[in-house]
C-alpha cells in the first residue's frame, strides 16, 4: 500500500506551501518458491507442531489486519498464526521492516484511545519479537480513534475499527 503524506501549512497572512513527500511502505512481495504441484510442503513452516503448507503460509501472509475485542489488546489465536508467518519472513529478511498501526473504536477520550491503540500494536510487536524479529525492524504508531475504517456509531462499525494494521516496508 503506497501512501504519500503531504503536509500543507497555510499561515494566517501569507501562504507558505511546504510539500514533503515520503515514499511509504511498499506492498508485500510474495517470494517463496514451491514445488510443481502447488501444494508441496517442502518449504513448510511449523506452528504448534503442525506443518503448514506453503499456500496456507501465503494466505497467512496476505492477512495484515488483526481485530480486537472491546477494551482488549489480546491477539486472537487465529491471528497469531498470521503474525508468526510475518515474523518468519522478517527473520529471513533482516533488512525488511514493518510498521504496526494501532487503532481503537471512537468511544471515549481521543488521547486515552491513542494509548489503547499503542497497547494493541505493542501486543503484536511482542509476538513478532518472541519469534526472533529484531525490534529495530518494527515501527509502532498509534492512531487511536483518529482513522476509522467505518464511521458508523454502532458495534458493527466499532468492531471494524478496533484493529492493528501491519504495513510492510521495503
Amino acid at each position: 500500500m503506497f501512501t504519500k503524506k503531504i503536509i500543507k501549512i497555510l499561515s494566517l497572512g501569507a501562504v507558505v506551501a511546504s510539500v514533503l513527500t515520503v515514499s511509504g511502505c511498499a506492498s508485500n512481495k510474495s517470494g517463496s518458491s514451491y514445488g510443481e504441484s502447488g501444494h508441496a510442503v517442502s518449504d513448510s513452516m511449523r506452528y504448534y507442531g503442525q506443518p503448514v503448507s506453503v499456500s496456507e503460509e501465503q494466505n497467512l501472509l496476505k492477512q495484515n489486519v488483526y481485530y480486537f475485542g472491546f477494551d482488549s489488546y489480546q491477539v486472537t489465536e487465529d491471528d497469531k498464526l498470521s503474525v508468526y508467518a510475518h515474523a518468519k519472513k522478517l527473520v529471513k529478511n533482516p533488512q525488511s521492516r514493518v510498521r504496526l498501526e494501532g487503532h481503537t473504536d471512537e468511544r471515549g477520550s481521543a488521547e486515552y484511545n491513542i494509548a489503547l491503540g499503542e497497547r494493541r500494536a505493542k501486543a503484536v510487536a511482542n509476538l513478532l519479537v518472541s519469534k526472533g524479529v529484531s525490534p529495530t525492524q518494527i515501527d509502532i504508531v498509534s492512531y487511536g480513534a483518529e482513522m476509522p475504517v467505518d464511521t458508523g456509531h454502532d458495534e458493527n462499525a466499532w468492531e471494524k475499527n478496533r484493529r492493528v494494521v501491519l504495513v510492510s516496508c521495503s
Partner: protein, 440 residues
C-alpha cells in the same frame, strides 16, 4: 454618568463586516430563563449608506453574545416593533410590566462616510428610569463593526457581572473533510461565535489536541505526518510551525503551564505512556509518572503546583493529580464516581474540575466536580460528548458533541443552566480549544 471612549486606532482584523459569510448556524437549545433580563433594541441608523441594515446593526451581535454567555435572559428581537432613538420615547410601562425586563440598551449608528461611523449607546434601568451608562465610539471603521459589537458585549457583561466577558475570544478546532477518496485534516481558528473562520494548518494526516498558549499567540497540537506522532507549535503571527517533541512512541496530549514557560505532555518512549514536563526555553524534560499503566492528558492547575491527569492505574481511566513540589509522592486520586473519567480541565479560579464522564448507561457526557465541595454534576447528554474546554472566565464549557450522527460543537454553562449547539459548514468537527482573553 457619561463615559466617552474614543477609539480611532487602526485595528488589524481581516474579517469583513457583519454579514461576512455566515459560517455557523446556531441551533438554540436551552436559553437561560433565570438570567439577567435585558432587551437590546435594534439600533438607529443615521446617515446615508449603501449597506443594508443587517450589515450595520450590531445590536444583532450584542443580543447573540449576551445570549451565548448564558448569563442573560435576552428579550426576543421579534417582539420589538421599532428602534428607540431617544430616552424620551421609551414606554417604561411596557418594558416593566409586559416585557418584564429590567435593563434596556438603545443605540445609534451615525454614518460618517462610506468607510466610517460613530456608535453611541445607552444602558437604561427600566425601573428607576435612569440612564446607567453611556458609551460613545467615534470614527470607527465600518469593517470593524463586528469587533465593536463584541467589545460592547464584553463591556455590558463586565458591567452587569463584574467578570470579564468572552465575546472577543477565539476558538480553535479540528475538521476532517473528504477530498475525493482522501481526507483533509484542518486546524481552524474562528471567533468564539464562529465567524471569521481561518484555516491555520492543513494536513493529509490526522491532527489532534490543539491548545492555545496563555498569551494567545501560539497553538500547540499533535501531528501524525509521516506515520509518526509529534508535538508541534504554530506561531500565529507568522504562521510558522516548529517541532517541539519528536521522540519514539507517543508524543501527545500537550498542555501549557499557567505562565506559558512549560508544557506538560505524554511520551511513551520509556515503555508506557507517562507524563512529562518540558521547559520550552531549556528544552529539559522532567518525568512525572513512572507507572506501567496508561498515564495521559495532563492539565496544569492555575496554582502552578499541581498537574491533573488521566490514569488507568486503578483499572479504568480515572483522574489523578500530582504535586509538583512533592513529585515522589504518589499521585492522588480525584474521581470516584463511575468507571470512566478522563480529560481533566480546571477552571481559572481553581474550584472546578470539568471532565469527560461515562454515565451508568454507557453514554459519554461532560461532568463537573467541585474541588471545594466534592460534588459532581453531569452537565450534558447527547450521543457522545468529549474534549471539554473552559472559557477564560470559567463560566462556560465548550465541547465536542454528536447530534443525530453529526459532529458539532456544544456549549454548556458551568452551572448547567444554559446549553447551545453550533453546527459548522464542515460535516466533522472536533476537539475545540478556547483561547485566553484577548490582550487588546
Amino acid at each position: 454618568m457619561l463615559i466617552r471612549i474614543i477609539l480611532s486606532v487602526i485595528l488589524v482584523f481581516s474579517g469583513t463586516a457583519l454579514s461576512a459569510k455566515n459560517l455557523i448556524n446556531i441551533s438554540i437549545s436551552e436559553g437561560n430563563t433565570g438570567g439577567i433580563p435585558i432587551a437590546v433594541v435594534p439600533f438607529n441608523l443615521n446617515g446615508n449608506t449603501k449597506l443594508n441594515r443587517a450589515e450595520i446593526d450590531i445590536s444583532n451581535i450584542i443580543r447573540a453574545d449576551l445570549y451565548n454567555s448564558g448569563q442573560f435572559n435576552v428579550y426576543p428581537v421579534k417582539n420589538i416593533s421599532s428602534s428607540i432613538t431617544k430616552s424620551e420615547e421609551i414606554d417604561y410601562a411596557y418594558w416593566q410590566n409586559k416585557a418584564q425586563i429590567d435593563n434596556l440598551v438603545i443605540g445609534n449608528i451615525n454614518i460618517i462616510d462610506k468607510d466610517r461611523c460613530d456608535i453611541s449607546l445607552d444602558v437604561i434601568d427600566v425601573v428607576s428610569k435612569k440612564q446607567k451608562k453611556h458609551y460613545l465610539f467615534e470614527n470607527i471603521l465600518i469593517e470593524d463593526l463586528r469587533y465593536f459589537g463584541h467589545l460592547i458585549s464584553d463591556l455590558l457583561f463586565e458591567n452587569f457581572l463584574g467578570v470579564k466577558g468572552t465575546a472577543r475570544t477565539r476558538i480553535a478546532y479540528l475538521s476532517k473533510e473528504k477530498n475525493g477518496s482522501d481526507l483533509v485534516h484542518k486546524l481552524i481558528i474562528a471567533d468564539s461565535d464562529g465567524y471569521n473562520k481561518k484555516v491555520a494548518v492543513t494536513s493529509d494526516a490526522p491532527l489532534m489536541s490543539p491548545v492555545w498558549s496563555p498569551d494567545g499567540n501560539k497553538i500547540i497540537f499533535v501531528s501524525f505526518a509521516n506515520n509518526k506522532s509529534r508535538i508541534k507549535l504554530l506561531d500565529l503571527p507568522t504562521g510558522k510551525i516548529t517541532s517541539i517533541t519528536d521522540l519514539p512512541g507517543i508524543n501527545g496530549a500537550p498542555s501549557w503551564s499557567p505562565d506559558g514557560s512549560k508544557l506538560a505532555l505524554v511520551l511513551s518512549k520509556d515503555g508506557s505512556p507517562n507524563i512529562y514536563t518540558l521547559d520550552l526555553q531549556s528544552r529539559q524534560l522532567t518525568r512525572l509518572t513512572h507507572t506501567a499503566f496508561i498515564d495521559t492528558e495532563p492539565y496544569w492547575h492555575p496554582n502552578n503546583r499541581e498537574i491533573f491527569f488521566t490514569s488507568s492505574r486503578s483499572g479504568g481511566p480515572q483522574i489523578y493529580k500530582i504535586d509538583l513540589n512533592n513529585p515522589d509522592k504518589p499521585a492522588k486520586r480525584v474521581t470516584f464516581l463511575g468507571r470512566y473519567n478522563a480529560t481533566p480541565r480546571i477552571s481559572p479560579d481553581g474550584k472546578n474540575l470539568v471532565m469527560m464522564h461515562r454515565d451508568d448507561d454507557g453514554i459519554f457526557c461532560i461532568a463537573v466536580k467541585s474541588l471545594v465541595s466534592d460534588e459532581t454534576k453531569i452537565l450534558t447528554r447527547s450521543d457522545h460528548d468529549d474534549s471539554p474546554t473552559l472559557s477564560p472566565n470559567g463560566l462556560m464549557v465548550m465541547f465536542g458533541t454528536r447530534v443525530n450522527g453529526r459532529k458539532a460543537i456544544g456549549m454548556v454553562s458551568i452551572d448547567g443552566n444554559f446549553r447551545n449547539t453550533f453546527f459548522t459548514d464542515e460535516s466533522f468537527v472536533a476537539q475545540p480549544s478556547w483561547s485566553p482573553l484577548r490582550n487588546s
